[in-house]
């Protein structure tokens, strides 16, 4: 980049070059240009965030469970929370609402989502990680009041939805240890986009 800029200067200003040829070697000019456009080691801008500041924001959960908070809950507690805070959008027992269908399972080996008239994608038939459910519920739900759920409520709702999808029993207690241990039915199907042929990418 600096070399290119230098060329532009040289092309557009003959007088400038002539003067510099007399006063200093062209290489020095190139060096000056380079220095003017290169970054310093650090611009020294910004501040160091405090640990508590970061901890307050850093709520993301990974599939290995990193980030999961203390607390626990089961489908039993989850059901009443669901009925009061989620059902109006997602319908009773996770289906039939105005927004996303949450419950639905497929027989093992059945995965018709690339076909015409495919069923709705649900937690039970499509979501690859149970941890994502906790992360998303705590992050974004309920739609009109995200951030209002406690960790126990979030564990309970996660458990209730996994229970409705026949993935865990009703009395299974979910916490930071047990949640990442759940293997979702479609997990093995997820592959990174690996298309490398740039002339025929379908």
């Amino acid at each position: 980049m600096p070399a290119k800029l230098f060329r532009t200067v040289r092309q557009t200003s003959g007088l400038f070059i002539l003067m510099n040829a007399l006063l200093c070697p062209a290489q020095t000019l190139a060096q000056n240009e380079r220095q003017a456009h290169e970054h310093p080691e650090s611009f020294g801008l910004g501040t160091s965030p405090s640990n508590s500041e970061l901890a307050a924001m850093d709520t993301a959960i990974r599939p290995d469970g990193k980030g999961l908070p203390d607390g626990q809950g089961s489908a039993k507690e989850g059901q009443s929370i669901y009925e009061s805070k989620c059902q109006q959008c997602h319908g009773p027992k996770g289906e039939g609402g105005i927004n996303d269908k949450l419950v639905g399972t497929l027989p093992e080996g059945d995965f018709p989502f690339a076909e015409k008239g495919a069923p709705k994608k649900t937690i039970g038939n499509y979501w690859p990680y149970a941890t994502t459910l906790f992360d998303y519920i705590r992050r974004t739900m309920p739609y009109t009041l995200p951030g209002s759920l406690t960790n126990d409520e979030t564990y309970s709702l996660t458990a209730y939805l996994l229970y409705l999808n026949k993935l865990i029993p009703q009395d299974k207690v979910l916490n930071a240890q047990s949640l990442p241990e759940i293997t979702m039915p479609a997990q093995h199907r997820f592959k990174n986009d690996n298309r490398t042929q740039t002339d025929k990418i379908l």
Partner: protein, 393 residues
Amino acid sequence: MKRRHFLKSMTALGSTTLLATQSHGDIRYLGPPARTMGTRSIHEQLEKTLYGQMQTHALTPLQDLHGIITPSELHFERHHSGIPDISPEQHHLYIHGLVNKPLKLSLQDLKRFPSVSRTCFIECAGNCQDYFKKGPQTPLQQIAGMTSQSEWTGVKLATLLRETGLRKNAKWLLAEGGDAALVTRSIPVDKAMDDAIIAYAQNGEAIRPEQGYPLRLLLPGWEGSSCVKWIRRLEVGDQPWMTREETAKYTDPLKDGTIRQFSFIMDTRSVITTPTFPSQLEKGWHEIRGLAWSGRGKIKRVEVSTDGGGHWQPARLQEPVLSMAHTRFNIPWQWNGKETLLLSRATDENGYVQPTASELIHARGIGSLRYHNNGIMGWRVKSDGSVLYEIVA
């Protein structure tokens, strides 16, 4: 139309005007003085189309626009929990995780770094999701209106990551928005270091609230949902977080039973912008105009067919032809009054040719075309001069 307006206003002005016109020929009236803010002419009625159960989309009227820049207020919208009202003084960008030196940057800090500007498109991965659902009387806006283009200005993310340093095992970044949904996407470090921008300006002024005010992550050529708006946090890690927006959504189930994930790049597409529904054509010369773009580089060629794919003619590409940017194409066309089908097909600099929807269905399965459907679009010209949307599959 203009003539009618003129006559109407003459009538409204009444007999005084007529008398004056008779006596002095051409009296002109003083217009309003300068204003602190310009507005569109009252004769122009451009609007986004609202879409979605919870009104989470607004679609750009591509058929009414010229050139390659989308006016900021007509840039398409897609958000998950509404548009936040963020005070720029309160907003910071945090960079932490697998870095040597975590940073908290104010808007003022960010504006002091070397700035860059880049004109590129942002397109929702779900653009054209209703390709197979829409009837003939559908404007382009309602099918392909989730792509828009701006000149974005900000600081290169690589400049910021150079400040924080990256640990050896840094592979992914979690980008988190500051909206009610706290939308998150995992972004590969390679893209962050390549051409990602933390943008604070759009078309010369601060980013519009619905586009991410005061800060937006811009990933040129990549699906809109990865260009996280209202960005407040970047956490560096060694693996993706598998957020809802990269697992349950924005993934592509394929015919072989796998699900393609992290299909960030927007494939080459072209759309004819005019004539499209509800254009009404007369016999004679017209210019067929459109936009073409590729998430992998520059557009090299756009071909237009005016006979339903029997013959293809190269359109003129209008400068500038920028990488990962809407490129304007046009071609003169004499309509003979007979029914026909108009098509456009783009090729990018890598030699990738825009496929038909049937090729996509054959390769992936129709169910995968919820996202990343870049199939050729058709516009049927009827013998009465009407132009109708047509599914080409």
